[in-house]
């Protein structure tokens, strides 16, 4: 055994000084699989969804809403360009085929991820914020750190910070379930089977509006997420989401 191999061994040392290039296991397999499955699925859903919206690019509140009714948002004729839609040329039927096939991937993927992550305690251990973290002073501290582009180093980089926890919990437990439920609330068949669903959304056209607003929120999350990956070191971040292993940034004091 040569010395270099021993040097590279990813050991979790607590005692100082830490090795200069510490490698740590950061993302478990279910997290990584779900992440990349979603990277594809959410893009297909947003792009095929924009094509579906191209067919009637007006949004309403309440049960009904059509051309003669008041629209709270009106995009004009066929507003979403080919680069933003699936397929790129106007085709409502094809967009629906994509949307309702990948909807199954989204639903089954989310349920499987939730079941696995409750089972392996990823939710309880990594995602759930602690009361200390939720203290306004701590959250404010983290916002300031982010604004200065001071990202966590050392062991702190292996845990989600509070802003990450809040946004991941919001996406996994609020936005994605609401996306699915408002989608189902637009189905005339589901509305007959589960009338409460369309009632809680405030009507079918309200469900459609909320569906759009949440899609916009998810898109905003993706943009911020990608910016953060780039700022935090894209190669290390992306590599850790592929292979699970992460090169831990050294503590700032040593830099």
């Amino acid at each position: 055994m040569d010395d270099a191999a021993v040097e590279q061994e990813p050991v979790e040392e607590i005692a100082p000084p830490p090795p200069p290039r510490r490698i740590a296991y950061r993302h478990r397999l279910p997290t990584r699989v779900w992440h990349w499955l979603n990277a594809i699925t959410v893009f297909v859903m947003i792009m095929s969804g924009l094509m579906i919206l191209n067919a009637h690019p007006r949004l309403y509140w309440g049960q009904y809403g059509a051309n003669f009714d008041h629209a709270w948002l009106n995009f004009g004729q066929r507003p979403f360009p080919g680069w933003a839609t699936i397929p790129s040329g106007y085709n409502l039927a094809a967009a629906r085929i994509w949307h309702f096939a990948f909807a199954w991937v989204l639903v089954i993927g989310l349920l499987a991820f939730l079941a696995t992550s409750l089972w392996n305690r990823h939710v309880q251990r990594d995602l759930a914020p602690t009361p200390d973290e939720l203290a306004p002073s701590h959250v404010w501290q983290d916002i300031k750190e982010h604004a200065r582009l001071h990202f966590p180093t050392g062991d702190a980089a292996l845990r989600y910070n509070i802003l990450q926890k809040i946004s991941y919990v919001a996406v996994i437990f609020v936005l994605l379930p609401l996306m699915i439920l408002t989608g189902l609330a637009m189905s005339p068949s589901i509305d007959a089977a589960w009338p409460w669903l369309v009632d809680v959304t405030g009507g079918r056209q309200s469900a459609r509006s909320i569906h759009f607003i949440i899609a916009a929120a998810i898109l905003a999350f993706i943009i911020v997420h990608l910016v953060m990956v780039v700022l935090a070191g894209p190669i290390n971040e992306i590599w850790s989401m592929i292979g699970g292993r992460f090169r831990v940034p050294p503590e700032r004091s040593e830099v």
Binding site: V44, M47, I52, L53, A55, H56, R58, Q63, Y64, G65, A66, N67, F68, D69, G82, W83, I86, P87, S88, G89, N91, L92, A93, A94, R96, I97, W98, F100, A101, A103, W104, L184, M186, S187, P188, S189, I190, D191, A192, A193, W194, P195, V198, R204, Q205, R208
Partner: protein, 248 residues
């Protein structure tokens, strides 16, 4: 020649989109995506009861203007004549896999016991409108005609045409015998207006708008949809690949 800069600029989105468009044209991949339609239909049928009713609204919920879609007036000479006669000689044929084929004058159909329902019409494009419909339950006609046990689908033949192809639609027996599935001859307290399908249209309340065939002249019971026109169960299904099951 494509400049290098332009090549790089369009490269990123082009790669992704070109890929999706290529997949969209790939029959095997499209077939895989399409298989979700059966899964959706079976799941929706599983979670709901076959007789679950679509929400019925009150007069106060009616859309001020109920827009129409698709054909607003069939342009055949035959239809023009019927319209000039106020549809006095319009008859509805019920045939196919039935024991007693029927030919019912529209006036007789209007005199049969009818159902009034205020329901929401959901277009595949995304809009919704609430209207009040008056009509005969389809099950009543199918029972009168004596549906064969071989019959699996009910096909609605319409007089409006898209180019050379006539409009038609089809539903299975679960939807055909649903209590809210009616042949509507009236809307919002009046006889059905021409843009909404005069003199007779289908209401199949748990499905999207294109399933609600207008200008119906013939109702045919069949065992398989493959023998009807281009085989996919409806004009839009045949021509542009809309889903036959339009519950979502």
């Amino acid at each position: 020649m494509i400049s290098r800069r332009r090549f790089v600029a369009t490269g990123a989105s082009g790669l992704l989109l070109g890929g999706c468009d290529k997949l969209d044209r790939n029959p095997e991949f499209k077939g895989l995506l399409r298989s979700a339609e059966g899964l959706t239909m079976r799941s929706q049928r599983l979670i709901g009861d076959r007789n679950d009713l679509a929400r019925e609204f009150s007069e106060a919920d009616l859309s001020p203007i109920f827009r129409s879609n698709g054909t607003s007036k069939p342009d055949t000479p035959d239809y023009a004549r019927h319209l000039s006669e106020n549809f006095a000689n319009w008859r509805i044929i019920v045939d196919g896999l039935v024991a007693r084929p029927l030919s019912i004058p529209i006036q007789m159909l209007r005199s049969l016991p009818h159902r009034t329902q205020i329901t929401r019409h959901d277009c595949v494009e995304g809009w919704s409108a609430i209207g009040k419909w008056h009509g005969v339950q389809l099950s009543r006609l199918l029972d009168a005609a004596g549906l064969s046990t071989r019959a699996k689908y009910i096909v609605f033949h319409c007089v409006d045409r898209f180019g050379t192809w006539p409009y038609y639609e089809s539903i299975d027996l679960i939807d055909a015998f649903h209590p809210q599935t009616i042949l509507a001859w009236g809307m919002n307290g009046h006889l059905l207006p021409v843009p909404n399908g005069a003199p007779l249209r289908l209401r199949v309340e748990r499905q999207l708008g294109y399933k609600h065939a207008k200008y119906i002249q013939r109702i045919q019971a069949v065992e398989s949809l493959s023998e009807v026109y281009r085989g996919k169960g409806g004009y839009w299904e045949d021509s542009t690949d809309y889903q036959w099951y339009a519950g979502i």
